[in-house]
Amino acid sequence: MIHFQNIHKTYRVDGHDVVALHPLDLRIETGEVFGIIGRSGAGKSTLLRLINGLERPSGGSVFIDGVDIAALDSAALRKQRRRIGMIFQHFNLLASKTVAQNVAFPLRLAGDADRAAITKRVGELLELVDLGAYANHTPAQLSGGQKQRVGIARALACAPSILLCDEATSALDPETTASVLRLIGEIHRELGLTVVLITHEMDVIRRICDRVAVLDAGRLVETGKVADVFLHPRHATTQRFVQEYEHEERVDPSGSGVPSARRVRVTLRGESVHAPVLARIARETQVDFGLLGGRIDRIKDTAYAQLTLALSGGDVDAALRGLREAGAEVEEIR
């Protein structure tokens, strides 16, 4: 478990104190995929780097399985870092070394494996990321997605228990992003490590995270399960992130078409998404359902439907009750 306890960070820039992180507490459970979302300058990069000590806090503690990272001396910190893999937005591979040498690098740094063991391990890792045929290529000969796969293989070389992803897909096109996220998901399932990723895209959070924290100007403004935060964002910053992902205003402000209609947002999750709920309730209550907006998609492995409806005529209250009884979350919009 990673536990930030009253952690804060202030930088001194040209004689002024700039607060990167206001005091915050946060727990990341062992084995989960935890996402941190925020704009640039929100402090997410600082927060991520506190985990492996690339940044030292101005105050507070970062516990990993009970060990306070912020209190370690540099030798102990280096040892700890070998248990934490990290991948980067710009991959940060050594241009002067081959793919195999890049993956071997952390093993050579650790210095406790002989040449044959390193060669064997590098082979396994390259197979894992599907780059077995590229061992002797140099990074310059690879595509962005392939470079990130090398980065992932390198990060996993010392069999870490934590994988940190620093905007790992931000420099990649959508298709490559999807395949890299799939790979991270597979690795998470197979190796059972804890993944902490930072991003500015809700889509990344939606695809692979279990829980999410939203940072805004150095403050933690919202934390929770991805499905809850994504479907019912409370803080204005979170709402904007979700809107950006959906490329639309959540509610058409011009109304419903029928002036007297009541507007509601109905959220269905899991199996109930595909159940014929709406038609049954419309029939039973004589309510007319107007569609104002909607989306049927997945959050990680769970299907969801979120529809904005205009209800008019018939017994609207009975219809809302019926929807709730059918397992839908119903919010009225004014």
Binding site: R78, H90, S96, P139, C158
Partner: protein, 221 residues
């Protein structure tokens, strides 16, 4: 033809060429041996770097600037007592090497520093994240990643040293520059002047070509 090359003593030209090559080789070798760590230190102690040490950085930087701002001809004279101490003579090829190194090593150190600054910060950060020590980062990351720039620096330093060796004649070091000075210039033997200048030109061309080839090979990625 006979008339034009009448003044030329080819044995003398040969031994002067060897002197130049010895001075060049010796001083380049020691300039790299001293300048490389100095350049690494200049880089590492710089602001925001791995061993950021303002005091050390300013001191080193000042020392380098002093040596670089002294005209080589002055350095040659000022260094005489120190040269005597180091190589036991202030004359000849051996006597020329310490001042040549004192002039070229700081120059090369700056080139090394610049080459290291060109290494992507992200790569250094990634190495730190992998638990690398500063020593491992220098030897395993910084120097290999900056190799093309460092090789280019060695080439530039070598070419600059060819020019410096010509001046080393002042302390009786011999070499092609000295020959050009004593015979070509002072005795108005234009043919000697031309032959020595052509030889120096060929030397510079060869150095540059070898350097370019090494740089190209190191940057093939």
């Amino acid at each position: 033809m006979d008339g034009f090359f009448a003044n030329i003593d080819w044995t003398e030209i040969g031994s002067a060429s060897i002197d130049t090559l010895l001075m060049l080789g010796g001083s380049l070798l020691f300039s790299v041996i001293l300048g490389l760590p100095l350049g690494v230190l200049l880089f590492l102690t710089g602001r925001g770097q791995l061993l950021a040490q303002r005091g050390v950085n300013i001191t080193l930087s000042f020392l380098v600037n002093v040596l670089r701002s002294l005209p080589f001809i002055i350095l040659l004279i000022v260094m005489i007592p120190l040269t005597l101490l180091i190589v036991g003579t202030s004359l000849g090829v051996a006597g020329a090497i310490p001042p040549l190194v004192a002039g070229a090593a700081p120059f090369f150190a700056r080139l090394v520093e610049t080459a290291l600054r060109g290494v992507d910060r992200g790569v250094i950060e990634a190495s730190q994240a992998m638990g690398a020590t500063t020593r491992q980062i220098v030897l395993g990351v910084l120097l290999p990643e900056a190799r093309p720039g460092i090789l280019a620096g060695i080439t530039v330093t070598g070419v600059a040293l060819v020019g410096y060796t010509a001046m080393a004649g002042v302390v009786g070091a011999g070499g092609l520059g000295d020959l050009a000075m004593r015979f070509g210039y002072q005795r108005f033997q234009t043919d000697v002047m031309i032959v020595t200048v052509v030889l120096l030109l060929v030397l510079v061309q060869v150095l540059q070509s070898i350097g370019d080839w090494l740089v190209a090979r190191a940057s093939r990625r």
